[in-house]
Symmetry: C2
DNA sequence: TATTATGTCTACCAATTTACTAGAGATTGT
DNA sequence: ACAATCTCTAGTAAATTGGTAGACATAATA
């Protein structure tokens, strides 16, 4: 077994892609107003494989979270105000509907005529809502401020 | 794209295995006190592939949720009072830790000396707790009662 | 206009996980 | 002895994850 590397052989784990995407958005938000930032810079700053990040940023652009400037001196910029970007929305974008219910097996010989009126469905919905409520209580701006606080306290440790 | 068949190409979805496992536990709880129930019966009642269910029940036995009686007239029985089995525990058992944080990439040339003191980690923890709080607010007994209510209301529709 | 630094697109690939299936064996009631 | 059951070890096809490779498009600037 590999120690928490990648997926750790368990279900329901946020994918690396989503994680990289969030970190890229944080980086873009951190540098808002500083002109286009290249894929390479973002990759270096956040420790993301550059060719993988390329595809992730393209998706973020298509979804309207980022804009790109092509050609020399080009790069990516954030497309929305960080205050209005909710963490829950970003995760939903990368991961799709959280906690979807698997279809009740169709090879069902028993009587049930209405398809999938499962006792678990409403519970799933409640759980997903609760999850998204927590995640959406944070904006990208919140994350940026946390990141700034972390960086400055880290710098403190060095000067001591 | 296949319409919600299996995984629907999206992340963070409860696996079929977990879903089957929950349905099997519901079936065992429904028939508590009626003697051993064979894998085949459970599979038929809940629409689960029998050889797959076999492995799932073995896991449930190892975890102490079910007991088995071998040989002829054998089968499975529930091993705990349904009132004391929490939905959150069962899901945790099948899926492992929900919402684990991927490791921040190790190929990090930048300064960060403390490993993975990520701004996202505390948020993940809060989200997971909120999720488990909802899931663990239901016991297996609750599910059984919902299932019974559903079945009887279904029967009603037929007699009308 | 040539160069060069950038983003864009399509395709491909290896490792892992999921969702099973197969077959042989062990156990127990009759 | 027989038959019905659980048990164990493999194996496996399809999907997903986590990338990589290479060719191309675009734009600044010299």
């Amino acid at each position: 077994m590999q120690f928490l590397s990648g997926k750790c052989s368990l279900g329901m784990i946020i994918s690396n892609k989503c994680y990289y995407g969030l970190k890229a958005m944080i980086e873009l938000a951190l540098r808002e107003g500083q002109g286009p930032i290249t894929i390479g810079e973002i990759a270096r700053a956040q420790g993301i494989p550059v060719r993988f990040l390329e595809a992730i940023l393209r998706q973020l652009k298509q979804a309207g979270y980022a804009d790109s400037i092509r050609g020399k001196e080009g790069g990516y910029v954030i497309a929305k105000e960080p205050t209005f970007v909710r963490l829950g929305d970003l995760i939903l974008f990368f991961e799709g509907p959280l906690m979807a219910v698997s279809p009740s097996a169709t090879a069902h010989e028993s009587a049930s005529p209405t398809p999938i009126p499962d006792v678990l469905s409403p519970i799933w919905k409640r759980a997903e809502k609760s999850l998204l409520d927590v995640l959406s209580s944070y904006s990208l701006q919140d994350l940026v401020e946390m990141e700034r606080a972390r960086n400055s306290s880290e710098a403190m440790n060095y000067t001591i």
